[in-house]
């Protein structure tokens, strides 16, 4: 076997080891890459299937389309998109997170009892009903949600606003949604908004970092709250299990079915949701924080017009918070 053949065989063997699939890339053009939840990078060819935790990144000339059930997602150039799994009211739903850049969504057939997919940026969650919408996230975590058809409830910092067709709302990272504004049909070009956000972010990098800090803390707060609920449930469960151990026959069976089992199911789903926010924080650390660092450092090298030491100290403090409070929840394959 010559060297070339050997390495072809090597590649094919290793490729068969890695199969993680769910939503499917149906079209891609230009530079589009995928980092899977094992940390491996792939080209986003049509037919490639995404699984929970996978991240799609498009370059300046790249875009792609993804189908997930009846939902169609278009990922714009210069975008980082993450596909996740989330549990809503006990039901598993897909999570589409626009970490950076822009995604456009067309959703169909969401019935009253169906929670629909979870659509989010680092700072915003959008609840949708039969909708066409665009979600844009800037490098410093600000978001813009614009609705073309249907209705969207945008939630951020514990507040929510309803956005109807041909309306939009801006969410500054760490804050509640702003005022809903009208968007004229055919004038939905968001490049100006992204440019404006990038400029504002370079003009005041410390403010951008403050927003990132707030967002990271919000993720950590959600992880902590879910973990607290989980641990409280475990304490209650310990008492209930002791009671269960003292029962016999049908009484035991009924107590398990009516009292213990629903709590066990709830505990599992809490773990699932903790995982969702942990992956969101990781995604923010990996993509948004890195993007902030590179852009600010480049700007500083050219202009030297702000306190780099102060920025660097604050940046490292956020990373330390991530490492202390999120890293313990990660598993090896995430890193």
């Amino acid at each position: 076997m010559n060297n070339r053949k050997f390495f072809v065989v090597l590649f094919l063997c290793l490729a068969t080891l890695l199969t993680a699939i769910e939503a499917e890339i149906t079209y891609s053009q230009g530079e589009v890459s995928i980092r899977d939840s094992f940390g491996d990078n792939w080209l986003a060819d049509p037919g490639f299937r995404l699984s929970s935790g996978d991240t799609v990144t498009t370059g300046a000339d790249g875009h792609c389309e993804i189908i997930d059930g009846s939902t169609q997602i278009t990922i714009a150039p210069d975008t980082v998109f993450q596909y996740l799994e989330y549990s809503d009211s006990g039901k598993s739903v897909s999570g589409f997170q626009c970490v950076l850049g822009q995604m456009n969504l067309v959703l169909q057939n969401i019935t009253g009892s169906d929670p629909g997919p979870r659509i989010s940026t680092a700072s915003t969650v959008a609840g949708v009903r039969g909708t066409k919408l665009s979600v844009i996230a800037s490098a410093d975590g600000n978001s813009l949600v614009v609705v073309q058809e249907g209705r969207v409830e945008v939630q951020a910092a514990g507040k929510s606003v309803e956005v109807n067709a041909e309306q939009g709302v801006e969410v500054v990272a760490g804050n509640a949604p702003g005022q809903v504004f009208e968007v004229l049909r055919g004038q939905m070009d968001f490049s100006n908004w992204i440019e404006k956000q990038n400029q504002a972010f370079l003009d005041n990098p410390m403010a951008a970092l403050e927003k990132a800090d707030l967002q990271m803390k919000a993720f950590i707060e959600q992880i902590s709250a879910l973990n607290r609920e989980f641990l409280e449930g475990e304490i209650e469960m310990k008492t209930l299990r002791e009671k269960l151990d003292n029962l016999e026959g049908n009484e035991k069976k009924n107590f398990y079915a009516e009292v213990i089992f629903p709590r066990e199911v709830h505990s599992s789903y809490l773990q699932l949701n903790i995982r969702y926010f942990v992956l969101s924080a990781l995604s923010m650390r990996r993509y948004m924080m890195t993007s902030i660092y590179i852009k600010v450092k480049m700007n500083w090298l050219i202009k030297h017009d702000f306190d780099w030491a102060g920025f660097s100290e604050k940046y490292n403090r956020i990373l330390a918070t991530f490492e202390n409070q999120v890293m313990p929840y990660l598993v090896l394959r995430d890193i």
Partner: protein
């Protein structure tokens, strides 16, 4: 050069043996997969339980990382699990739905478990798991444990 190719081949074989979820030669039928799953459930070391599930499952990564099994109804404290196949039918998304009776160490009263089995290469794996202690799977009550995919 020849020696280095042989050396790399040995390393590759070693890696495949230890990294692959499906060891060469493992071609489990539906019944064998369910039996192997029950064996894993009844062991204290759950580190390989993910191997019984199909990678198409959206929950797939969560099963490996979050303690879904060790916090849910298939936790170690409920051990002495048994799964008995009752019937099977074709699943609309391919593969087979296997309806089973499920019991644990707390009660021998059979509970409803439906396993959607799907082939992963030559291996049958669990694509979706629905366990309902009160009522039957899919009846939309809140007492259902679901590890599933999203269609």
């Amino acid at each position: 050069m020849k020696q280095s190719v042989i050396f790399l081949s040995v390393i590759l074989l070693f890696l495949i043996l230890f990294l692959s979820c499906d060891l060469p030669g493992e071609n489990l039928s539906i019944s064998e997969r369910i039996a192997a799953f029950v064996t894993s459930l009844n062991q204290d070391d759950r580190s390989n339980i993910q191997d019984h599930f199909h990678p198409n499952m959206v929950n797939y990564n969560q099963i490996a990382s979050a303690s879904v099994f060790d916090t849910g109804p298939m936790k170690i404290a409920n051990q002495n699990f048994a799964i008995t196949q009752v019937s099977s039918s074709d699943h609309s998304g391919g593969g087979t739905d296997v309806t089973c009776n499920f019991t644990n160490g707390i009660s021998t009263y059979p509970n409803s478990l439906i396993l959607w089995m799907l082939q992963d290469g030559t291996n049958w794996k669990i694509r979706q798991l629905n366990l309902d202690i009160v009522g039957t799977p899919g009846d939309e009550d809140s007492n259902e444990f679901v590890l599933k995919s999203i269609q």
